[in-house]
Amino acid sequence: MKANCWYGTRTLKIDDVPEPKILNARDAIVKITSTAICGSDLHLYNGFVPTMKRGDILGHEFMGEVVEVGKGVKNLSIGDRVVVPFPIACGHCAQCEREMYSLCENSNPNAWMAEKLWGYSPCGIFGYSHLLGGYAGGQAEYARVPFADIGPLKVPESLDDDKVLFLTDIFPTGFMAADMCGIQPGDVVAVWGCGPVGQFAIKSAYMLGAERVIAIDRFEYRLRIAAEKAGAETINYEQQDVQETLKEMTGGRGPDHCIDAVGMEGHGPGLLGAYDKVKTVMMMETDRAYALRQAILACRSGGTVSVAGVYSGFIDKFPMGAIVNRSLTIRSGQCHVQRYMRPLLERIERGEIDPSFVITHRMRLEDAPHGFDIFNKKEDECLKIVLKTH
């Protein structure tokens, strides 16, 4: 089968690889119909995540048809159409029982690697480094899905792939970012980053009762989509001083909640932006945290900073003083997708949201390397690429 494989920083190749087989009783094999490129895939692409190996298959946002099930999978049948959550979760450990699926204690066979970097291991993730399990990803024609009795959600035929594909990651991830804020009526939410997760965070903040949502980015086309499709007010951080503008827009209070939907490859103007760039290039800092610092400083006293963007290692100049002295709450986490999939599917079915509004490009799987290139360079007004496989 064809698969999109990682061969080093900004080097991808479509390889012909063997089709996956059942390895464990609770596995299923899915014939993939649609798969997407995630903003977090760019961190792998740009070499920000350690423990990648040449030949690794990328991709963690995929859906398709069940073609084989292990003898331990009783709730799925051949022919079922399913969306597959990106965190692999066993459903039986203490974290899964608490619905903290991305913290599953059993799904990462390479847990010892993650423990060396982070203290404890989170769940395994499809196509996202060996540190997170070394699982083959879903930018391929088929994928093996471990613990298939827990993760995959059957979706109705009446909804086409484009409407339900993003239940795998970015819609729940954006929703959880807003959910972690504990939004109250009248609240103002600011969202850093108008990539796909940022767009869903904006939409979700409104769904959860925000009065106003302000979106921050530097790409006009992304700000335009945030304004037109998600209903946000916008700030272009290359043209306006974010701190001052937010203060001005919120009557001097600052936003009640700030969402970082940027993560570790943020860009920033001025001295701190340059500082991060130099330090990450010299590998003295693993993650550039410009957006996060700004979100912390901009948040109103007693507010919430919710971090949906991916960070993998260590950051500098973390404004702890602001957090302590202004009683800020920091919340974060890889999305517990399994917790959100069904309620969000119901919102789609009720017509409250059509997640396909973020799609700007549809390509064949074979064009994935080109897709990564334009997505990374933000060319051709690229926001979200869906790859069609079968």
Binding site: D56, H130, P146
Partner: protein, 225 residues
């Protein structure tokens, strides 16, 4: 296969860039590492026997005590999660015969006896006299607070004899015995909580994360069917 020796070896598979990226965090981790090393050193010092190795590891399993105890009580189950064991066979009078994979295809064997068995609390065993390989182990079960399942505390020790058998047993426990037992206990937890030891396409950094035939994957991961 050399790569089975120690999980630590797998780090050699990192590319230069990845090493540097990880290196950026080393300063932060050094503090953690040094505070961790201390109790281990203390434990070894207390043994007094030169070359003796004693390791202790703990995990919490989200299952009732009796289930965890019952599984552990049957020593034949050990090879399911202890990577280097080939088989454990029950003999009469609480004795058991242990077979382990040694280096270069060598098999190491010894006989063990049950020392103590307190139902749902504690199991202890040791190699019988004259078996050539002196080793002992115990496991303690206690309820985790707040109905969080069962805390399982495993302690193993061995006194490596001189010569090839000694090297065999040292190999059995790996270059980092703590890490080896920790890893085995993680597998035990996986087995108890999920009914299986989940396999990934790229165990450690031994191969790229892409499909292969099940036998290759099982061999690399050291998991029996």
């Amino acid at each position: 296969m050399k790569q089975h020796n120690s999980y630590g070896d797998d780090w050699a598979g990192l590319s230069t860039g990845q090493w540097i990226a990880l290196g950026a965090g080393v300063a932060g981790l050094a503090l953690l590492a040094s505070s961790r090393r201390e109790p281990r050193g203390r434990r070894r010092e207390a043994l007094k026997t030169p070359g003796a190795v004693r390791v202790e590891r703990v995990t919490t399993i989200n299952c009732p005590i009796y289930e965890v105890y019952d599984f552990w009580k049957r020593f034949e189950n050990f090879p399911k999660f202890m990577r280097h064991l080939v088989s454990v066979e029950s003999l009469p009078n609480g004795r058991s015969r242990w077979r382990a994979k040694g280096p270069a295809g060598m098999t190491v064997e010894w006989e063990a006896e049950l020392l103590e068995d307190r139902q749902g609390e504690w199991i202890a065993w040791r190699s019988v006299e004259g078996s050539g390989i002196q080793n002992s182990g115990s496991v303690r079960f206690s309820p985790a607070p707040g109905a969080r399942g069962t805390e399982v505390r495993v302690q193993l020790q061995y006194n490596p004899p001189a010569g090839s058998v000694g090297r065999g047993i040292a190999w059995l426990f790996g270059e980092e015995p703590d890490q080896q037992i920790h890893h085995d206990l993680h597998r035990f937890k996986q087995l108890m909580e999920t009914g299986e030891i989940p396999l990934s396409d790229g165990p450690s950094l031994l191969r790229a994360a892409r499909p292969a035939d099940p036998e290759t994957i099982r061999n690399l991961a050291g998991v029996e069917e």
